[in-house]
Every structure is written in C-alpha cells, then in structure tokens.
C-alpha cells in the first residue's frame, strides 16, 4: 500500500525523488497490524463457511485473537493519528493510472465509502448523542463520562474475577485458620490387613498379643 503512496519531493520525473517526507515507519506498522487482522478475519469467515457447527472454544479463541489484533491496530492508528492526518497523498507521474485505476480512485477518495458512512451513522444513533441539540461541550462531557464508566467496569471486572480465582489459597476473613489444619500427607498408622485379620478371624495383631484370642 505504502509503495503506491508517494509524496513530497519534486514532480519532475527525471529528478531524484525525495522520500524523506514519507511516514514510512507509521505506514509500515499499520500495514502489519491490518494484514494480521485481515488474516484472522478471513479465518473466522472460512470457519463459518465450513459445513457443520464449530466447537465453541475454537471460535472463542479465534475471536479473542481477532479482538486483540483489532485492539492493537486501533492503538497503532491512534498513535500515528497526527502524522496520518497531516499527510497528503498524490500519485507520481509514472504511476500506471490505466492499469490500476480502481486502486488509485480508492486511495485518493476523500469521501467515506457508503459502508463507512452507514457505520458512522449507526454509531451516532447508538450513542444517543445529537449534535444538533447538544453543543460540543455537552457531547464531550458525555463522552468523558462514558469513558470513565468503561474504565470502572473494566477495573471492577478484574476485581470480581479475582474473587473467583480458586487456584490460590484463600485466607480472607471468614476462614478460621485454626480449623483448617496444615496439610500433611497422612501416615499409615497400622496395617489394614492386620485389622481385617482381626475383624474377620479374631486374630489380634502381633504387636498387641502373641496368642490369638480364638478359643478354638
């Protein structure tokens, strides 16, 4: 993608092009994230396309992977937001306009494609915000509140989750340490077969007595 985006330098074809203005690092990072995301989305789509139902845990793990990739792509985009906002894209004279016309039009498009417009409209509707009735300050306030609630939910989720973590020993209030004895593997205090000999035959274990009680 970034190979096709040329910027800065001279327009003259025969002069040496100056790429110093190209935000190569930013574009490369984003390209990596996006291709990862694309790959896992494709995998999920293929899974669904297969006949029969999939195992829930494979789907869930793939969804988790996709979500974390989406997160990293979003954060990368946010990180380079300023650079990308100030970057102007235009084709070089040697760009093969006829063979790659569709690519060029997509890349140079200023307006959002209809699908994206739909997403934006939906997001606005879901958020319950109305720019015509509320001024910027109010909207910002609402967004800030929303972020705080999200943060609170995330932290309390982690806290609650820790309460149900049964892998560790819980020594909180309510557990009297005196009633939970220290673990020690029990020793065999006597020979079970010896006890059985007594229970079924009346043969006392040897350490107690040498003469069995049987009066026969």
């Amino acid at each position: 993608m970034d190979n096709n985006i040329m910027s800065a330098g001279t327009i003259q074809e025969n002069t040496k092009l100056n790429y110093s203005g190209v935000p190569g690092q930013a574009l490369d990072a984003i390209r990596m994230r996006l291709s990862q995301l694309l790959h896992s989305l494709k995998r999920i789509r293929d899974e669904f396309a297969k006949p029969g139902t999939q195992q829930w845990y494979t789907l869930q793990s793939q969804l988790n992977v996709t979500l974390s990739q989406l997160m990293s792509a979003t954060s990368t985009l946010q990180h380079f937001q300023d650079t990308l906002d100030t970057t102007v894209v235009y084709p070089l004279p040697k760009f093969p306009t006829t063979s790659h016309e569709s690519l060029l039009t997509t890349l140079l498009r200023k307006k959002n494609i209809p699908e994206v417009d739909d997403w934006l409209a939906m997001a606005k509707e879901v958020s319950g915000l109305n720019p015509e009735l509320q001024n910027d300050e109010e909207i910002n306030e609402i967004l800030k509140n929303d972020k705080e609630v999200t943060k609170w939910v995330l932290t309390s989720l982690v806290e609650e989750f820790e309460k149900y973590d049964f892998k560790r020993l819980y020594n909180g209030p309510g557990v009297d340490s005196s009633t939970t004895p220290k673990y020690a593997k029990p020793k065999q205090p006597f020979d079970i077969n010896g006890i059985m000999d007594y229970l079924y035959k009346g043969k006392l274990p040897e350490r107690e007595s040498t003469t069995p009680e049987t009066s026969l």
Binding site: P181, Y183, P186, Q188, P189, I192, S209, S215, L216
Partner: protein, 286 residues
C-alpha cells in the same frame, strides 16, 4: 443377601481434622457419629459336627457376626482418667480426637448391662451357662443384626473388593427370655470375641458410605485399641441383588471416582482377601 463393594484405607490421628473437612466438602454432608458393639460367634468345638464334604468345600463353617448400636449417651471419653464420670466433651465427630488410648470409649458398666439385657455375659468364659444368673429385662429389647460374609471375590484384575454378605435382624429370640447366647448356642455357636467400633459416617450420592472409625477389642478384663494412632477408613456400597450387573458396575465406578478424588491424600486400596475370610478354620474334631 447383599453384594458389598468396598475399598479400605487408614489415616493417622493428626489428619483427622483435615480428612473431616475434606470429606464434608466432597460429600456435601456433615459427619454422623456412630458406635457399634460387635460380637463374633464361632462354631462350638464341643459339638461334634461332621465335616461333610469339607474337602470339596461344599459345606464351609462360617463365623457369624452379631452387632448392634451402642447408645451414644453411654459413650465415654477415653482420655480422661476418671473412669466413672467420663462423659465426652461433645457428642459429635470431634469425639474421635479424644479416643486415642486403649481404654474403652464407653462406660463399661453400661455396656455390660446392655449386653446382659441381650443375654450376653462377658464375665464368664465362652462356654458359659446362660440359664444361670443372667437377669432378663424384656422391656429393653435391643435389635441385633446377624451377618455372615463370604470370602471376597477372587481375581487380580479387581479394582474394588467385592464380598457377599448375608444379613438378618434379630428382634426377639424368645418372647419370655430373650437371650442371644441361648439362641446362638442352639445354632451350635459360641461367643468368640467382641469389639467396639466408634467413628464418623459420611453419606455420599449413589448410596456410597464412607466410615472412619476406631476399633477396640474387649473381653472381661482388658481392652485394646487395634487402630491406635489412626482410624480405619472404609468406603462401601451395598448392592442388594448380586445379579444386578449394571448397579454393580455403577457402584464400582462411584468408588473408583472417590478413590481418584482423594488420591494424594488418602490412598484407598483392596485388602488381602485372605484377611477378609471369616470361615472358621477346620476345628480338628475327632
């Protein structure tokens, strides 16, 4: 006639607390304190019983066990030195922690009168004359259970011990003078030895019962604890029909599940089947 599937193990006294809390958690039920007195009866050697087909093992003389419950209010604390007033601190599973000595866990006088009421007199020797001085009190009829057990099933691939047990209940032996000794003598049996078991019982789903108990041998003058230093554990399921293969398989599965669950803490195993053989050794008569 029941088919009893069982597994045995033992724990030492210091592990009792942890054991109780573990089993309480697994079974979801609290422990139940129990106390039994058991008397084992063997063939009277004075009777000249012909050993018909003894060689072919068609007729095998077997010991008989008679047991009944000991009322919990006559249980005593064997740790306290005062033999007369040894009332236990608490009548629940914690009692087991105070029963670590040879002393009988019951008030002896009470036990003797309990046995006497049923016509068992320990003070004289085993071939005693029952008609003599045993005072009968018929208003205190204790129900006894009579049981005979076969040697556990053979086979090295067995995962649990499987034993056939025949049981019956004795409420009265005679309407006027109920006497177990007279009854058993009539069958040709005499008292061999007696023991007391006291312990905690847990009930699991699938009719699985887990007993943790101590055993005291007693005769007229002395008593010994056979399980000194620990408790015997017995996990068992009784299947009433020995042809009910499905139920037996299910019971075996339940026992093995418990064995697996407690692995690393309590190791359940099958005792030597020879040890669980209650057939009386051929008394060399004539």
């Amino acid at each position: 006639m029941v088919q009893q599937l069982s597994l045995f193990s033992a724990i030492d006294d210091p592990s009792y607390d942890l054991f109780i809390s573990t089993i309480k958690t697994i079974s979801g039920n609290p422990p139940v304190l129990f106390a039994n007195v058991n008397t084992i009866w063997n063939l009277n050697p004075d009777n000249e019983v012909q050993q018909i087909n003894k060689k072919n093992q068609l007729v095998e003389p077997n010991r008989i066990k008679l047991s009944t419950n000991v009322p919990l209010d006559i249980l005593a604390d064997s740790d306290s030195s005062d033999s007369q007033s040894r009332a236990p601190r608490q009548l629940d599973y914690t009692l087991m922690k105070h029963l670590q000595t040879d002393a009988l866990p019951v008030i002896e006088g009470e036990l003797k009168s309990l046995l006497k009421n049923s016509g068992i007199n320990l003070t004289s020797d085993s071939d005693m004359n029952v008609d003599s001085d045993v005072k009968q009190s018929n208003n205190n009829n204790q129900a006894w259970s009579l049981s005979m057990s076969d040697i556990p099933a053979a086979g090295t691939s067995k995962k649990v011990s499987i034993q056939l047990i025949s049981e019956s209940s004795i409420l009265f032996t005679d309407s006027n003078a109920s006497s177990l000794t007279a009854f058993m003598n009539g069958l040709g049996y005499i008292l061999d030895y007696s023991y007391i078991t006291v312990g905690s019982k847990f009930f699991f789903p699938d009719n699985l019962i887990l007993d943790a108990y101590k055993i005291w041998n007693f005769d007229s003058d002395k008593s010994t604890q056979l399980t000194k230093g620990g408790l015997l554990l017995k996990a068992y399921i009784n299947v009433s029909k020995n042809t009910d293969i499905e139920r037996i398989n299910q019971a075996e599965k339940s026992l093995l599940l418990l064995q697996k669950e407690l692995q690393g803490f309590v190791e359940f195993s099958i005792p030597d089947r020879q040890s669980m053989d209650s057939r009386s050794e051929a008394p060399d008569i004539i």
